[in-house]
Symmetry: C2
Subunit: 444 residues, 2 copies
């Protein structure tokens, strides 16, 4: 089989030689009106994935939490030229798929279409219409608000949702990351059509956008498509626009424990603190550090101590979620209510010990090896590639991020990991949130 693999690699290499050198790199282009484009040429699939990202996530909600989310949900509800039915008719009859959504930092509008002009042209025309002339009809807004408020109401009866929302609220306090992307029942209830229009005109603009594309097209076609799309985008010169990497976030002054009573026999626990931004040089060392601690599934320290040795929980994990501003580092675990105290104490002690003593050399070697071996399997579709290049484009990561990832992981040293952990993790300032019945109440 090994011979087969080599043979197969060589054959494929030869067959793909003409496109290999071009494909391995993420290409960039800046449209005539200044929108940056990141694209990958994937020549053998007659399909195009277009994703337009805006710096317009829920952190731009201002006083109306849920505004970004609702603006994006409402985008295909109508334009000044077309009704919702007409919009959906065009996408559906051409087999195209349109989506729009927002997260904490960024929002995105995506279109998947066959590349044949017969399908692609009408879809792109409609995409442009949505980008330039969305009309946010009042009747559709009424339905979406009802639906969203019902969803939020139902989430408010879910102890896992209560716990994670409490964690974000307490960690981020008055920073916009404190708020759930979908808003609260109260804030969504107050959203008006005029607010959506205002948010759309000020935030879903060419100044605020980048475009990511995976398709068989080379530069001339990419130019044509992206110049066309970006020409339709609204423009808004925001003179007060702040540096997007500026942060006023501070870690808590001291350890903080929050308990919320909920009639659930299972306690939902989050423990964490502020982590790092996207693009931080410590990202890969911390990725490895976390992999060892709680990111790797069964062989992590957390799983070993919490589950294997003590049977406290079915699962426990940790991760860094780097954002434009300082994203959270957190540990999540569920356990029986009467074990909540033991579990939170154990995890707090483990973090302290891990930072003081660092990982072993064996742990680091194992983690690097497993991360490297697992990486290629994460890229098996255009959608995966699109998701990576979107992230790379949006967060200003190096354009060779994908092709250098494995090499860069292999270069991280034990010292890099220990230094990164020491500069970021602060066990004396951890936030702990527990939601569950009375037995899970934290003994401080």
């Amino acid at each position: 089989m090994k011979n087969f693999l080599c043979y197969s690699l060589i054959i494929n290499l030869i067959l793909n030689m003409s496109v290999s050198e071009a494909s391995i790199k993420i290409h960039t282009y800046v449209t005539k009106n200044n929108v940056k484009v990141f694209y990958v040429v994937s020549p053998s699939i007659p399909m195009i994935d277009i994703q337009i990202m805006f710096d317009a996530g829920s952190s731009k909600d201002g006083n109306y939490n849920g505004l970004s989310s609702m603006t994006h949900i409402m985008l295909d509800e109508g334009t000044s030229k077309h009704t919702n039915e007409e919009i959906n008719y065009v996408f559906e009859s051409t087999g195209s798929i349109f989506n729009a959504s927002s997260s904490k930092d960024k929002s995105k509008i995506s279109l998947r279409s066959l590349v044949d002009e017969e399908f692609l042209n009408p879809s792109i025309k409609m995409l442009k219409d949505i980008l330039s002339k969305a009309s946010f009809p009042s009747e559709a807004l009424k339905l979406h608000k009802e639906r969203s408020m019902a969803f939020i109401e139902e989430s408010s009866k879910d102890p896992a949702e209560i716990a994670i929302n409490t964690f974000y609220q307490s960690l981020y306090n008055k920073h916009p990351y404190a708020n759930p992307t979908e808003g609260t029942k109260k804030s969504v209830g107050k959203i008006t059509r005029n607010q959506l229009i205002d948010f759309y005109k000020k935030n879903l603009t060419r100044e605020n956008a980048i475009i990511a594309i995976v398709s068989p097209f080379d530069l001339p076609d990419i130019k044509k498509i992206t110049d066309d799309i970006s020409s339709s985008m609204n423009s808004y010169a925001d003179e007060k626009k702040t540096n997007k990497h500026k942060s006023n976030l501070l870690d808590a002054a001291e350890q903080k424990h929050i308990y919320k009573k909920f009639p659930s026999s299972q306690a939902h626990i989050y423990i964490g603190q502020l982590g790092i931004k996207r693009g931080d040089k410590r990202n890969l060392p911390l990725y490895i550090a976390n992999y060892i601690f709680g990111g790797s599934g069964f062989n992590s320290r957390l799983m070993n101590e919490v589950r294997v040795k003590r049977g406290f929980a079915y699962s426990v994990y940790s991760y860094f979620y780097p954002l434009q501003d300082l994203g959270p580092f957190f540990i999540g675990v569920e356990t029986k209510a009467d074990q909540a105290n033991d579990v939170t104490q154990l995890i707090n002690n483990m973090i302290k010990e891990y930072i003081e003593e660092g990982p072993t050399k064996k742990e680091v070697d194992y983690a690097k090896n497993a991360i490297i071996n697992g990486f290629p399997l994460k890229l098996d579709s255009n959608a995966d590639i699109l998701s990576y290049i979107s992230m790379i484009g949006y967060y200003d990561l190096p354009e060779d991020y994908l092709t250098t990832f494995i090499h860069n992981i292999s270069e991280v040293t034990h010292k890099d990991i220990v230094d990164a952990m020491n500069s970021v993790l602060k066990p004396e300032k951890l936030l702990t949130v527990v939601v569950g019945n009375e037995k899970s109440k934290i003994k401080k």
Copy 2:
């Protein structure tokens, strides 16, 4: 690093993956000990996806609802040779991904790995160990039962879950499809280690299995891999084994309305009846019929009447879910509690009218065109292909299902659709389930 170039090549090949429709030819092979294999050669990705399907879903639970699900969840918790940590170490250190789960009819065990022997051999060895010697350790079972019961407890506070469970219970009565795959809190609480072992030995057997593979390998390698895997499978000759396509299911004798009170301002509604089996010749005509009625998103009749014209709901959909036995046809919608009556009446009338009058010629042409144009975009990854060939293999569908799908859709006539609808849909026997606060109570 020595491997760096190799990985660059692999990534490059992944970026150039090809899954064009023409190349999706399904091959078959029967292993030495009689397990049928369905495989697709996807030459440019050095990755293998293996899926073993068993006729061992929750419909085989017998008196212990949740047994199939728990058996599969517990598979990687230990074997007579390896602990859970050792099992996970092998998969993780080679970058492989192992999964096991069950649904109503079938269950599946899957492995994704790089094709290089260095990674593939240890993963397959461990897969074989799991297939032949799973040990279902008691301590892990205790944790999984707790976790599962907590999950079920939390679901029982979700009106959407209550509604769909009530729908299945009422539609299927004493048939195994009536039960949720994960079981009930009571039934899961009673599951013992011996029951898992018994279920495993009798159901996860070579007599009960088929294998689906998407990889760069041709027949000689497929033979080697699948003969190897199937040689490790347990054997159990079940003399009482029933014909899997025999059905005792009957439609309800008359219309049935069920109301469950729940303190939710949004009513959750399911309306439906028994539909068809997988492999039924009426599948494609009904697929088109349903596409027009409620399967197509915005341009469906349901969306037009329920949402566009009346603003009753944010979304409404319908589908057929063909199973080994008669699967359900159902419509799902959420609306404000005080509109529940109007919505259920409207939908009941719409079904009646649709069956009496049939779709228009224009609707049929539009639907066929949209289904055909959208089809290629559904097959953009090995995972998609694997999912299709698994379904084709498990339900004895024609091996050219994928390559003939578009042609077969184009051949369906208006008469085929009307005939299929008339023979399957029975508006006078519809089941309606409503869950919501008092305002949503059904006026019969």
